[in-house]
Amino acid sequence: MNLASSLYFTGAEVGLSIVGLVLLLVSAWGGPRSARLVTILAVSALVGATLFSGHLFDLAASETAGRAFGDLYRADTFGSFAKILIYLATTAVLMVTPRFFDQRGAYRPEYPVLMLFNAVGMGMMASATDLMTLYIGLEMSSLSSYVLASFLRNDTRSAEAGLKYFVLGALASGIILYGVSLVYGFTGSTNYEGIRAAFAVEFSAGALFGVVFVLAGLAFKVSAVPFHMWTPDVYEGAPTPVTAFFATAPKVAAMAMLVRMAMEPFAGEVDAWRQIVIFAALASIVVGALGAIGQQNLKRLLAYSSINNVGFILIGLAAATPAGVAGVMTYLAIYVAMTVGSFTALLMLRDPMGQNLETFDDIAGLSTKRPALAWCLLALMFSLAGIPPLFGFWGKFVVFQAAVQADLVALAAIGIAASVIGAFYYIKFVKVMFFDDATREVETESPIGHWIVLGLSVAIISPLGYFLTIPLGDWSAAAAASFAAAM
């Protein structure tokens, strides 16, 4: 395992780091004027990283997983799949960001640079096969996230969001670290394979504590109930493009990290963590659904919606089978499309003065003012609610099918029944846009970049998306095959 192959397998992260550092210099010398240039370069770097990850995905699907740096890091199909989603989501968010900050005169070249470093950290989270790499990736991503949350320096809500995120994020990191130290103490290894081998010999009560702490910290990162309290506040306070980012890429990364953790080092102890995952899944579905009902602020509502969605994703994980992991990956892909689409639509909602609109009252009667936008949002909301023939249904379908195949019929039945509660507020969206009378003026034009992102997301979640089921299923299955040895 020489250095060249190690660098090759980590090519996406290495490349993004170099571009990030160079762009940091550009922004330091170029000042705010260079913001546009830096954004474009960052987007191209992310597209390049996406393509490279796609290449690694093909490579790993045909050959053995690429281990780098003495098995600290693995460029397998699972990691590559997650990274493609992460980079694509980051790219989409970067494309719709500048207009939001321009209106406040707050856009700076540091923003895309922070996003790049965040992407590097998230890539590491998805590929880490050692507790140390995992922690470094996690912190790299988290630290840039804290700064991004408070990027609107003059806005108190944004600052508050950043501070809240920082304090609670640090707490979660502490919990993970504590769990990591326990696991290390009881197994004598930080490497995933080493941990698994040690657990196979003996799984003591102390090690169980370690597993629970690690999972609790990770649950915080994916904002699963009961560690979800920060989500609505941070999502509401952070600038809307940053919220869109938080709801997509870091969620994918954290979920990938959680799945890898559960399916590799802890794969032998499914009974130990399954009940935790089942509780978190059902609690997330119910709390996410009930919490959203009373919300007036759309960002807050989408925050609860993301908690709700995490619950469904965890149902796939609870199955603890290759089909379950494949279901999780499929769900994540569809979830990213739906969430990017919803937030882009939200960013396109502005009053004639250019102020962003973000409450239910603001979108009343939108279907008469902006029919195209309203129909896109309608499709996105029904898709989030999981109503066929929209593609969001397919995500729920695969995770529930995995649960049923794993004999978790009761879990599937309760979960799907609880999803009806969630449908209530999604259809409220539609009701407000289509049934109510318009109360206020909205901006009638949106830039082409926003339309492209929105159009692509809606095309994916439209019934046309079902033609993706075969390739998406194959890719997800290939990603899940990364853990074949462990299961």
Partner: protein
């Protein structure tokens, strides 16, 4: 490979729906009308080419374009009849909305055309999950139809409709997944002959029942129906009553009965009990309504209860009767909602008391209304008589009590329908504005006359409709025979007496003594 007529029937309204979104009001109406008429023509073609007594599944299409399930279409006689009902009612719905809908016409027509796609899809789907997708997707256009173009309380009604039916269906999805996992196929014709263990059947049956009972709707989960009917625009009510309610019955015939025969027999008493309550209770509720649409909505629940009772009779008459009631009720209740719509368009109220003596100023209307009222009661010569008679005859073989109670529903039906008709069409002309209403125009003629003709056709010569279904229903009876109960009417041919009853032996002897 034969011509994919079912796919074409799905594609035509779908393309038209997308076109309507971008068109102005008048052109959207024309496009919608032409698309639905074209689908009707295709439907007629389908019926003409249906080989009665031939293969069970005809016009089969299959394409493996999805993971986990396939695009498989195909129909038997039962599905054929229900598809005919849908394509027949659809152009009439478009005509009914011609003048009544003035805002967002393009979107309205698009929603209706989408409804048509989904309804044909439900009846034609041969894949379990494809069926579910079509079945569930109908919620979206119907939610919009009620919510955007409905009456004053439309928001409440649309929410109730959406959440009620969604909660019913999701459990069915889990049951379907379990079945597919167990049987290893999503193909409905294969699953029809798969024997699930009786214990599993119990749970599966209940999950399917949750969905179909809500769609049907059966007492006590019928409460969404009156709200949805009252608030929906006229054409929306026609589609709800005409076709959407049939999804429940179709589900019982296609899934519950043949796939879970043991469980169906086990739960037949539950279905009978709920049906009996529904027949009596909703008929009585219908009797005291002041709102015409609500009255007809409750009458729908009562009629559907006869369908469920007939289905669970487990014999040919019962199921044939249930199918005929479904078809007949689709036509008649649709027509009754259209009749309400005709006078609602003129006076903008559904209050029965605001009308009266309409037969004086609207004689043609009164005639049509009378015909459909009589058909709803089940007068011989109309469609509903055939269905109700067959269903009750089949039921009588199983249970005298249930038949007795359900037949009472026909008497109560006569009571509320005649009472409605008397208050609306006969008597004094109490209200000046109602007395000034003009009679039917040409468009309304075109809506009501075809339904009237079909109602009489079905009543006078039901063989046209029963023939395509006969073989499929017979196959269904054979499939369920192993679980059928004995029934309490043990009709036996008795021992004949030695001599004729009018034989007078003594007199004969006496004669000879002379």
């Amino acid at each position: 490979m034969e011509f994919p007529i079912l796919s074409l029937m799905l594609a035509v309204p779908l393309v038209a729906a997308i076109a309507c979104l971008f068109l102005g009001a008048q052109s959207a109406r024309m496009v919608a009308l032409f698309a639905t008429l074209f689908d009707l023509a295709l439907g007629v073609l389908l019926w003409l080419n249906f080989d009665i007594g031939g293969a069970q599944w005809q016009f089969v299409e299959r394409a493996e374009v999805f993971a986990g399930f396939s695009y498989a279409l195909g129909i038997d006689g039962i599905a054929l009849m229900l598809i005919m009902l849908s394509v027949f009612l659809m152009p009439i719905c478009i005509l009914a909305s011609w003048d009544a809908i003035t805002k967002r016409v393009g979107e309205y027509m698009a929603a209706f055309l989408l409804m048509e796609v989904l309804m044909i899809g439900v009846f034609a789907a041969q894949d379990m999950f494809l069926f579910y997708i079509f079945f569930e997707a109908g919620l979206i256009p119907m939610y919009l139809i009620i919510g955007v173009w409905g009456g004053d309380n439309r928001i409440y009604a649309s929410y109730k409709f959406f959440l009620y039916t969604l909660l019913g269906s999701v459990l069915m999805l889990i049951a379907m997944m379990w079945m597919v996992n167990e049987a290893g196929t999503t193909d409905i014709p294969t699953l029809l002959n798969y024997d699930f263990s009786p214990q599993a059947q119990t749970w599966l049956w209940l999950a399917f029942f949750a969905s179909f009972a809500v769609k049907m709707p059966m007492w006590p989960v019928h409460t969404w129906l009156p709200d949805a009917h009252v608030q929906a625009p006229t054409a929306g009510s026609v589609i709800l009553a005409g076709v959407l309610l049939k999804l429940g019955g179709y589900g019982f015939i296609r899934f519950s009965l043949p796939m879970f025969p043991e469980a169906s027999a086990q739960f037949a008493w539950l279905v009978f009990a709920l049906s009996m309550v529904a027949v009596i209770y909703t008929s009585l509720v219908a009797l005291v309504q002041h709102d015409m649409k609500k009255l007809i909505a409750y009458s729908s629940v009562a009629h559907m209860a006869i369908v469920t009772a007939g289905l669970f009779a487990f014999n040919v008459q019962g199921i044939e009767g249930a199918m005929m009631v479904m078809l007949g009720h689709g036509l008649v209740s649709g027509a009754l909602f259209l009749c309400v719509g005709v006078i609602y368009d003129r006076l903008h109220t559904r209050e029965i008391d605001r009308y009266g003596g309409l037969s004086i100023n609207m004689p043609k209307y009164a005639l049509f209304f009378l015909l459909f009222t009589m058909a709803s009661i089940g007068l011989p010569g109309t469609s509903n008589f055939v269905g109700e008679f067959l269903a009750l005859a089949g039921l009588y073989k199983v249970s005298t009590l249930v038949t007795l109670v359900c037949t009472t529903g026909i008497i109560l039906g006569a009571a509320y329908m005649l009472y409605l008709y008397r208050r609306v069409a006969f008597g004094e002309q109490r209200n000046a504005d109602a007395a000034r209403m003009p009679d039917l125009n040409a468009r309304e003629w075109m809506m009501l006359a075809p339904i009237a003709a079909a109602t009489l056709w079905m009543g006078v010569y039901p063989e046209s409709f029963l023939a395509p279904m006969r073989q499929d229903i017979a196959a269904l009876e054979v499939r369920m025979a192993r679980a059928a109960s004995e029934g309490d009417s043990q009709l036996r041919v008795g021992e004949p007496m030695e001599r004729n009853a009018n034989f007078v032996a003594a007199a004969h002897d006496a004669e000879g003594a002379h």
